[in-house]
Symmetry: C2
Subunit: 202 residues, 2 copies
Amino acid sequence: MAGIDLWYDFASTYSYLAVMRADPLAQKTGVALRWRPFLLGPIFKSHGMETSPFNLYPVKGRYSVRDLGRLAARQGLPKFLLPVPFPANSLLAARTAIALPDAARPEFSRAVYHAEFAEGRDISDRAVLGELLAMLGHDAEAVLARTGEQALKDKLRAETEEAARQGIFGAPSFVTRDGELFWGNDRFEQALEWARSLAQKS
Amino acid sequence: MAGIDLWYDFASTYSYLAVMRADPLAQKTGVALRWRPFLLGPIFKSHGMETSPFNLYPVKGRYSVRDLGRLAARQGLPKFLLPVPFPANSLLAARTAIALPDAARPEFSRAVYHAEFAEGRDISDRAVLGELLAMLGHDAEAVLARTGEQALKDKLRAETEEAARQGIFGAPSFVTRDGELFWGNDRFEQALEWARSLAQKS
């Protein structure tokens, strides 16, 4: 079966758009997704950028909010909101997503992004994440406790290092099984096509 | 009739992809295009960037060459080449495009981009531009002489200032008649849709 790794950062606006449409799109095209949260911050820093490109170039940042608003509307999502502060600190959300079983990760990820970009909430807040976990039927205290374990912290760090090794420099990114990299929500369809054509060859 | 301004810089890789498909796409959707070459360099500088984002972030630059290669292939264009030096100095090409009558600008622009990104030639070279002009049936010497006139230099400077005023920070960009800005080859279709829906309302 065709497959793709979906790399996303919870602070990333265009990851939001990709994550919200990922499951229907993957099902429609018959491609299996692996959901891989990671942290873009350390990768930006390694390229000499201290904050989001949104903040580095205000004219581009303002345009992007408009672009995201238009795209969210086309996707049938609620009015797009930029949370304060922006970008959010996505560390705890990423650790929480990794602490969950694989099967629970997509639903939790959508809930985090909805809280962040449709409700403007601060996803670095432990209470916000606890509320989302409880809403989805998880034992919030137990899951959040796991985010403090060294093994789990190491796992997220290893994922981020793996992303950098694969040439990832932005989010969302899609990587097919032959290592082909596609960057950005705009390339999701093309990545799925690539994955399918790869599966047909093998 | 629906209309769009197509803003492009001759040094811009993704402008190449947009320009090569602009006329068929506009005809198919019934949207009139105004071809507006400008210079991205002064706009980048005003944002504190001294060179192309390609060169500032090498990992991103390498990815972009791969992305451009894939997109060129999908569009049926020749193998994508990055010219040396990159980015090209696009000043003379932009002045030449502006020196031509409006009706001759699209064909000349396609010829410049083909020389640059399909043949890897240096489009800052007066001889290269002269050859393209002659090939298209223009009086190359007369057109190139006009690029030295103050009025023409001022016209290009005014166009670049106008682009900045409209919030443009990258190329290609598309602006509809209500001032809505769309950035990037990936937004061409969406800009055309916007233009059509605007024309239907009026």
